[in-house]
Structures are given as structure tokens and as C-alpha cells.
Symmetry: C2
Subunit: 246 residues, 2 copies
DNA sequence: TGCACTATGTACGGGATAGCACATAATCCA
DNA sequence: TGGATTATGTGCTATCCCGTACATAGTGCA
């Protein structure tokens, strides 16, 4: 361990992001000087469609939703990133695509680093590059699975997937989100979410109240969710076996 | 230019894959010794879910469909790769994900290279790495866009997108595919494809007959297609400006 | 406490697509 | 040439979800 002031302050926090935590200690110490702890508020947009990237974010306890927007204004979530990953790495090279954006959907903290610095480190190859590329593949899997999930699975199952993917990236079993917000993320009507959530509540799996969803029976939720949840989760662990999400 | 026999034979072919064609001549010459021209027949599976990758394919005039399969057997296309790209690079590191596979959907040729050799070259960094990573990002965009397209756009528009993305990767304006096949790729019913294609034929945009689709009016097709086609195409050109697909 | 605002509940009609069944047409091959 | 096979056409019902409209219930603040 280093002994500089920066190290002492930031090093323990780094390990809260599991992607950073997989890196060798030496590398992590070097990065520590460039990493900055920031608070992310719900609804905050980390990057907008078509923008050049300024920072890459490694969430510690915040959760970020990657979305794809259409001209009509409707949009859908293509992936969710929490303390298991990073926001912006897929777009490290070449700026953002036209229609994609990253929005904080659960407030908390993240470590951020300027894209330049990270890119320079990335181009050295080695552990960082390998780690980020593995994560990139896991992200691709999540997006691909979401594609077929959108086509074949009902709203109720997608809601389960949505909740479980977030639970895995949180300390508590309480999700802060209104039906309205969930509807926007899933790209469905608010009423459809109300109906699906109502069923789950009637069955005793969850309890919600004005923007707070309490997950009461995680096991049953896992029994109800479509395979997509397991595929994505399994893939994360295959590629990044050090991750400790449930 | 080199003067060995291998160079003479294969070098002109390399330039038919536009991703390879963007590479510096020196690098291309080195790769030429490891590249092998193979014929890909329709329906041929380049890799299966969960397999370790043996080769990476750079199509010259063949077209490959990347699919994601569900337990139920239904599946959907998540991206299409032709002479503008490569099959398998996203999975160069860490083997295939559980549910993804690559199927040849239009017969033709491809240059292939063993994953080991390519990976070694990739890890050198430089032009090849940069080129493949840019392509990877374009692929991600295609997948992400397909996600929202699946949710918000009708079958007719998706059919237009499907045809246009293939036309761009072919020399002719004739697509060899039955309604049945298209239905499987889009993840919809065969009858729905028949209906959508029937409309397009009635409007004079296409003419089909027993597994051959002739595109008569490309412009009108572009007028009818959803924005997803333009987004994907635009993104390919932004990231790989040397590409010459229409 | 009461009012404004936000969140959730419910109901109705309509459209797109699924699932199924079967008819017709084109192609291939013996 | 004729029969088998493959490809396409069509019609039904069922289901899921959307769009809309409006009712009710919690929450926060003056």
C-alpha cells in the first residue's frame, strides 16, 4: 500500500467498485491519483447522444441506466451498470453513438477518471485493458439478451428482470422508483407497470408505496423471472469471476 | 508489396473485406500469411453458444447473422455482419456467451484467421486493435438499436431494415431468403412476414418469388424504413470512415 | 388542517401480432 | 409428366399491450 494522502483517502473506496477491485494493487495505486469520487444524483445524465466522452465512471453504490432513444422520444434501457462495472468504456474510442445516453437511476457515488487518462492507460495493454474488454463483452451480452427479451417476454417477467438486476447492484432490498420511471426504462406504459407490479404485490413478492419498492421474496422473484436474468448474471461471473454480486 | 506466392494470391482478396482494407499495407502483408479463404454455405454455423472460438471470419461477399437464442427455441437476430466487418472479434477474449451464435445467411466467401494469431496481433495494440475496437463499437450500436427497434417498430419497418442492411453488404439487389427464414431472423411469425412483404410488393418496392427477393425501388424502401437503419449505417461510417458501403 | 401535487388504480376500445388451420402456387426430381 | 416438397396466401380467434380518460390515495408544504 502507498502512504501518500491520496492513497489513504481513496484506496478503500476503490474496492467498492468490483471492476476496479479486480485490478492489481500496483495499477490501482497509480490510478488512484487520477480517480475522483463524485456524487451522482438520480436523473443526472452522464453522457448524451453523440457527445464526446469526458469521463468514465465506476459506480460504487450508484446505479446507471444505459438507454437508447428514438426520434419519437420513446426509449428503452439497453443495459444497467452498477458497482460491477463502468460507464463509458464501450465508447472510450470514438465518442458516443447518436442515440445512446447514460442516466443515473439510483443516486449514490462513483469514481470517475478523465477519458484521456484512462485511454492512455488502456493502450498500455495489460490488466486494465483485459479487464475492461471482458466487461465490455459482458455488456454486449446484456444488450443482446435485452433485445430478445423485448421481443419474446411479457412485461411482468421483464419487470422481474429489471428489479433483480438492480438488487444485485445494491446493498438494500429497497428500490427507489415509481411505476412511471420503470415504464420509461422498459419502454412500456406506466399502466402496464402498475398492473404487473400489482400482481407481484398481490402474490406477496414485493410491497410498494409511492416510489419505494420493497422486495419481500427474492427467491420467488427469481422463480418468476425469464431466463434472461440468469444468462446475463452468469455471463458476468464467467467473464469476471472475481465479482461478488449475488 | 511483397512478392511471395501467398501475397500474390491472397492480397487482392483481402481488400474485399473493408475492415481489413483499412489496415496499413505492412500489417496486411503480415496477416496475409495467416489468413485463409474459405467458402461459407448458407445455414453454416460459425460458432455456437458457449463455445470457445477457433477462428475469426472476415466476410468478403458472404453475410452472417448474429443471433441470440432462448430456451424456448425462439431467437432473434442481434446484428448482421458482411464485408464491412468481422465475426467473432467481440468474443476474442473469453469465449462465446451462453446464448449467442453466428449463422451464415447468405453464402459466399470469407477470410479466416485463427483466434490465437489474431489475439496475439491484437495485443500488440496499434492499427489492428484500434480498427477492431471501432468495429466492436459499431456492432454494439447495431445491437442496441435493434433492442429498441424490436420494442417500438412494426414488422413492416423491421423488414425494410433487414433488407437494407443486407443490400448494403451485397453486390446485387437480389436477396435469397424465404419468408420463413426472415421470420426466424426477426423473431416473428412467417405469416407476418408474408403480410408485410405482400404490402411492399403491392406497392412495387420489391418483387419476390419462391425464396428470391428482388429489390426494385431502394429509395422508397429507405423512405419507409425506421430510423434504426440510418442510425446503424451512420454509426459505421462515423467509426470507420473508410468503409464504402452505400 | 387542508390544498396541491405526485403516485397508483381501473376501465374501455383499438391495433398489432401470435397461434392455428388450411388453401394455393411454384419448384424439383424421379 | 406427375407427384412430392417447398413456399406463399388467407382467414379465424385469442392475447397482449397501447392510448386515453378519469378516479382514488398517499405525501409534502403553507
Amino acid at each position: 500500500m502507498g502512504s501518500s494522502r491520496v492513497d489513504q483517502l481513496i484506496l478503500p473506496v476503490l474496492y467498492k467498485n468490483q471492476l476496479l477491485a479486480t485490478l492489481p494493487a500496483v495499477l490501482l495505486q497509480r490510478l488512484a491519483f487520477a480517480l475522483e469520487l463524485v456524487r451522482l444524483e438520480t436523473g443526472c445524465v452522464l453522457y448524451e447522444s453523440g457527445e464526446r466522452l469526458h469521463h468514465v465512471y465506476f459506480p460504487t453504490n450508484s446505479i446507471v441506466s444505459l438507454r437508447c432513444e428514438l426520434e419519437s422520444g420513446s426509449s428503452g434501457e439497453i443495459a444497467v451498470v452498477g458497482n460491477d462495472g463502468a460507464v463509458g468504456i464501450a465508447w472510450l474510442l470514438g465518442g458516443q453513438p447518436q442515440t445512446s445516453q447514460a442516466v443515473v437511476c439510483s443516486a449514490g457515488f462513483a469514481l470517475r477518471i478523465t477519458a484521456d487518462v484512462l485511454l492512455r492507460e488502456f493502450e498500455h495493454g495489460g490488466a486494465l485493458q483485459h479487464c475492461l474488454l471482458c466487461y465490455m463483452q459482458a455488456l454486449i451480452t446484456q444488450t443482446a439478451q435485452t433485445t430478445v427479451c423485448n421481443r419474446f417476454h411479457g412485461i411482468e417477467q421483464q419487470l422481474c428482470r429489471w428489479m433483480l438486476l438492480r438488487l444485485d447492484r445494491m446493498a438494500s432490498n429497497e428500490l427507489l422508483a415509481t411505476h412511471e420511471l420503470i415504464a420509461i426504462m422498459l419502454g412500456v406504459r406506466r399502466e402496464s407497470v402498475t398492473q404487473a407490479a400489482g400482481k407481484l404485490q398481490a402474490a406477496g413478492l414485493i410491497h410498494y408505496k409511492h416510489g419505494r419498492i420493497l422486495v419481500l421474496d427474492r427467491q420467488q422473484l427469481e422463480a418468476l423471472v425469464c431466463e434472461c436474468y440468469a444468462v446475463v448474471t452468469h455471463e458476468y461471473h464467467r467473464l469476471l469471476p472475481q465479482l461478488t454480486t449475488h
